[in-house]
């Protein structure tokens, strides 16, 4: 025979069971949502000094991103204050020309800056690789695999968009990794 106390305990246990199940589900869902919430994102924020005046700061280099059938797995890594490395996978493609905006460079400094570019692919697939900056074509690697470095000047306060362009006369059946070194020189 169950006592009244045991019966009440049993009824409470049965009432609490669905809530406990919900709590268990929440214990799995809440950390996942919190972790996603804590994921840092990139956003340019305005620098204000104590007088509330915008200060001229650094050189900002940011990925444009987006998806493209030929250019994928884009990565931009900051090596130190002056150097960055960009890499992208150039997927298999037909004989044609392709281009994509890859990064935006913003000169927030009070003086003009110079940016040095050097890039190459690990394997030569007889493609011409260019950077397009302000409608100017800068050859980075030619169809023989020869590489060329370039230096461009960005005036103070100006933002330039860098395009990566590819040109190949025959189809390429394999994907390749393209690496680009970017150095900021004063």
């Amino acid at each position: 025979m169950k006592t009244t106390k045991e019966k009440i305990k049993n009824i409470f246990g049965q009432i609490l069971e669905p809530f406990a199940l919900g709590l268990l589900a929440l214990l799995f869902i809440l950390p996942a949502i919190t972790v996603m919430n804590l994921t840092p994102i990139t956003k340019e924020f305005e620098k204000l000094d104590i007088l509330g005046v915008k200060t001229q700061g650094d050189v900002l280099i940011n990925l444009v991103g987006g998806s493209h059938e030929v250019f994928s797995e884009e990565m931009l890594n900051k090596i130190d204050e002056q150097s960055y490395s960009y890499s992208a996978r150039l997927n298999k493609r037909g004989a044609d020309s392709y281009s994509k905006p890859i990064m935006k460079i913003e000169n927030r400094k009070e003086e003009d800056i110079k940016i040095f570019f050097f890039g190459q692919t690990l394997t030569n697939t007889r493609s011409m690789i260019y950077l397009i900056i302000d409608n100017e074509y800068l050859a980075i690697q030619d169809s023989k695999g020869e590489t060329f470095d370039h230096e461009i000047e960005i005036p103070s306060g100006k933002t330039v968009t860098v395009f990566l362009a590819l040109e190949n006369l025959s189809g390429v059946q394999f994907s390749e990794i393209f690496d680009l070194s970017i150095k900021i020189t004063e």
Partner: protein, 182 residues
């Protein structure tokens, strides 16, 4: 309320807290060490209400990768520990050679029944799978270094295998194979 549910709730608390702590410390420590500039913003963006903002993609990628790695380490180490301990404990019950090896290695005190339940391994592995899913999605979105995504995938596969093995051992206790007796 059933004992199983009570135990599941009790076990789930630690990995849930560790997951959040790992992610938080993974953001805080590199930000303080490298003195990164950051801003915390409160804006409703999908399911997200708090955003940690960094001024450039390279810093964001680095901080997010380190925080994901910290979260993975904090969840994976106890999970792997539980799987290895349970596996050795179960094998020692059936195989005298394992007992001899354990004695030689002087870890007899460590190989006990404590922390060798299937429920505990299952819950920790589930949290590891959730962490891995988040890391793999971030890797696909180029928000985490590829090697961290691959490592988390490999660890998750190992833990799934370990969980299945523990389940088989538990089942074998209830329904022993006939070959063991005849």
């Amino acid at each position: 309320m059933s004992k199983l549910l009570k135990r599941a709730l009790k076990i789930s608390l630690t990995p849930a807290i560790l997951m959040i702590v790992g992610k938080f410390l993974g953001i805080l420590i590199p930000t303080l060490i490298y003195d990164f500039e950051f801003v915390v913003q409160n804006e409703m963006m999908g399911i997200s209400s708090v955003q940690i903002l960094f001024p450039d993609t390279a810093t964001t990628l680095f901080v997010n990768s380190i925080s994901n790695l910290a979260m993975l380490i904090l969840i994976a180490i106890p999970t792997i520990y539980l799987i290895i301990k349970t596996s050795i404990y179960q094998t020692s019950l059936e195989n005298p050679r394992t007992v001899v090896k354990i004695t030689r290695l002087n870890i007899l005190k460590w190989i006990t029944k404590k922390n060798t339940s299937f429920l505990q391994i299952f819950i920790w592995s589930s949290f590891l799978l959730i962490s891995t899913a988040i890391i793999v999605v971030h890797t696909i979105q180029n928000m985490t270094y590829t090697w961290i995504g691959i490592s988390s995938g490999v660890i998750a596969l190992f833990c799934i295998w370990g969980t299945i093995r523990t389940f088989e051992l538990e089942i074998a206790k209830i329904y022993p194979e006939e070959s063991n007796y005849y």
